[in-house]
Symmetry: C2
Subunit: 412 residues, 2 copies
């Protein structure tokens, strides 16, 4: 894509009311627009990065048998009354709205109730199990406080998967597969080393749930990390009993702020029973379907990546998430710039081409640093005299002079 054709402009300053580093950078770079606190729109480059994240999540969910669906925002209270999650007393961050006839509806903050209700149409027998369904869909939470940018949104994108098994053993086995899939997602999106599997409070059905916590000063959670065991414990459950369960001594724990980038939860019959999601087993007996739920927010993950990987000059995207792989900059060398851009584009290389004639070299370099595309390739009169291109890594700052042929093979 040609930068001259992109409608977004970079900005020196973020909105004065924006307190978070991730939103500040994403807004300044023209990736996002703030509609109000905790509510962001995604502009062309931001949407490209977000779709890269979604693509990685889809691949990993499909690889463990997930089938993609798309459920609705509007929620029927009847289902949520059955599970005792409708009233404000039970759930305090609902957004609610009214139909013209006065009936109250909710805006979904999660989808256990509608997905269990829907599955009752499709699951009748043990032969219909297991089922793993997921969606990437917009959710709403009426947060009193929304000051962490994309990390805590009132409106945000969520990947939520739900598992439906015949037995606890089957759920346990699938749960472990999701754990591994989540680890792969965080590794592939460039923050794997900073994410800890964290023990958190369970429910009626299981003693613990698990969170994936990315260590960051911008985080709203506090975790206690055991580097030796490569796990962590959420402060909320840090008791002697839990430490004994996990074989961890309190002394070895390291306290850190962290962003919860994913969580997985065994639900058992908590939702299937009140919603009538039952199946007939091999012996002809009716049993409730055993459920699990698995959340991972793509927009929050995008915010976490920016928090963790940016530097004082701007964003530093990992290659897998960057909106483009190469940022080509022509400095008063439009002819050669155009030719090389066309060449890269023909090869299917994702290249963002700064062909702007009214921007100075300094502006172009500052924009490239702010936008954070992994490789910056400069064509100038100077590089042309040497018959080379200047290739700089956004991450390491390393600069190499290459000929066209070598640069065409980028990124290796």
């Amino acid at each position: 894509m040609r930068q001259s054709e992109l409608f977004t402009k970079t900005r020196r300053e973020a909105p004065s009311d924006e307190a978070s580093r991730n939103a500040e950078l994403l807004i300044r770079a023209g990736y996002a627009h703030k509609e109000m606190a905790g509510v962001y729109s995604y502009l062309p480059l931001g949407l490209r990065a977000l779709e890269k994240i979604n693509g990685i999540i889809r691949e990993e969910m499909n690889a463990i048998g997930g089938q993609e669906i798309h459920m609705t925002v509007l929620q029927n209270p009847e289902l949520w009354e059955k599970t005792e999650r409708w009233s404000e007393r039970q759930v305090d961050n609902w957004f609610k709205t009214d139909l013209k006839n006065g009936w109250e509806l909710g805006l979904g903050f999660t989808h256990e109730e509608p997905v269990a209700n829907m599955m009752a149409q499709h699951i009748a027998s043990y032969r219909d199990l297991p089922v793993y369904a997921y969606q990437i869909q917009t959710k709403f939470r009426n947060e009193g406080r929304a000051k962490s940018g994309l990390v805590r949104g009132r409106e945000f994108l969520m990947k939520d998967m739900y598992s439906f098994n015949a037995s606890e053993e089957d759920l346990d086995a699938f749960y472990e597969r999701v754990k591994e899939a989540y680890k792969r997602i965080f590794t592939r999106t460039g923050i794997g080393e900073k994410v800890f599997l964290t023990f958190a409070s369970g429910g009626v059905f299981s003693k613990y749930s698990h969170e994936f916590q990315a260590v960051s000063e911008a985080g709203e959670d506090t975790i206690h990390i055991s580097r030796e065991k490569n796990i962590a414990v959420n402060r909320e459950v840090l008791t002697d009993e839990v430490l004994a369960d996990l074989g961890i001594k309190r002394e070895e724990l390291e306290e850190a702020k962290a962003i919860e980038v994913g969580n997985i939860f065994k639900l058992g019959a908590r939702f299937s029973e009140p919603l009538g999601l039952v199946f007939t087993d091999e012996k002809g007996e009716n049993k409730p379907v055993i459920m699990g739920s698995y959340g991972l927010g793509p927009t929050r993950l995008m915010g976490a990546i920016v928090e963790l990987l940016s530097d004082e000059k701007g964003i530093v995207w990992p290659e897998s998430v960057a909106p483009f792989r190469i940022h080509l900059i022509a400095l008063r060398t439009a002819k050669e710039g155009n030719a090389f851009y066309e060449k890269l584009a023909r090869q299917g290389i994702e290249v963002f081409y700064d062909d702007r004639e009214d921007a100075s070299p300094g502006e172009k370099f500052a924009d490239a640093d702010l936008l954070g595309i992994p490789l910056r390739v400069v064509i100038s009169e100077k590089t042309l005299r040497e018959g080379k291109l200047e290739v700089k890594s956004r991450k390491t700052g390393e600069v190499k002079m290459m000929n066209e042929e070598e640069a065409c093979k980028l990124p290796e």
Copy 2:
């Protein structure tokens, strides 16, 4: 994909409260789930079809210079008060909700206000124009009546494009390009012959807007078609003056019910002026940006395709929209079926494979008719004896016997 692994099941009966043919078929086939009147979730095969439609729309919007963005559901009243579209008196189908601090927010039914407000961050000079931005995003309309299935949703997917030009002439030229892009979309999604460009009421800025109306008994609009001129007039604007404008005689008009599958609208400065979206022209003068807006609902289009192309046995997808291109059915020939399925899948052909061992041939054939995949390929002991496969067109019913090599080249 193997049918034995798909979690959805087909049904003989639709929900008793479902009055529309499109939703009835989509629910029975397991493409959609009804959450409540006018509110549908999309299940794996339905989401695949919907993504095919979205893909066609994206291609056509990108081809005329559209840049994709993604805006929010939650709407800030301040913007809508400026354009006098906030109060119930002004707009009667808002869904509204409240923040914890009591502030009222809206759920977007369209996005002229936020997109104009956002563009004021990115457009300052005539050099920044034109800009064409679009999104495919979930919208909400508080319809009193929602009995037409996907054709009139309370929650629905909308592709909305907004154009930003320096002059009316530039808007006019782009408007014509959108018209052609819309025609291509309806042709590519298989309903082009039934869609008429229809003159409808304009606004302050232009005498007419244009709708794309698909002739169907299930439609909620009434149009008057001139077959000779290949255009139509919405009943709402059928006056002698309009007929004179278009050079049409009243006698030649043919009345028909129709589904509005798209509409395009010249907005002029209706939104840019109150929202402060101005630019500096070549002479250094400030002028309001000239806008247009262009709607096309993918979920409504999916409903219209089902209304228009289905028959008494079920859905008949056009190839471009079908969730798969081939429905392979093995009748007690699992070994040969598996081998042929693997062969097609390796070639990247989208094949849905009915490998179910507990379904009778009659059930498999009925499901194939209901699901509406364009080509049904049967492998049975009988076809194997002939060294052939039976290939049937869902649309024409035509049956051909082919060998494997010929069938591998399907669809031609």
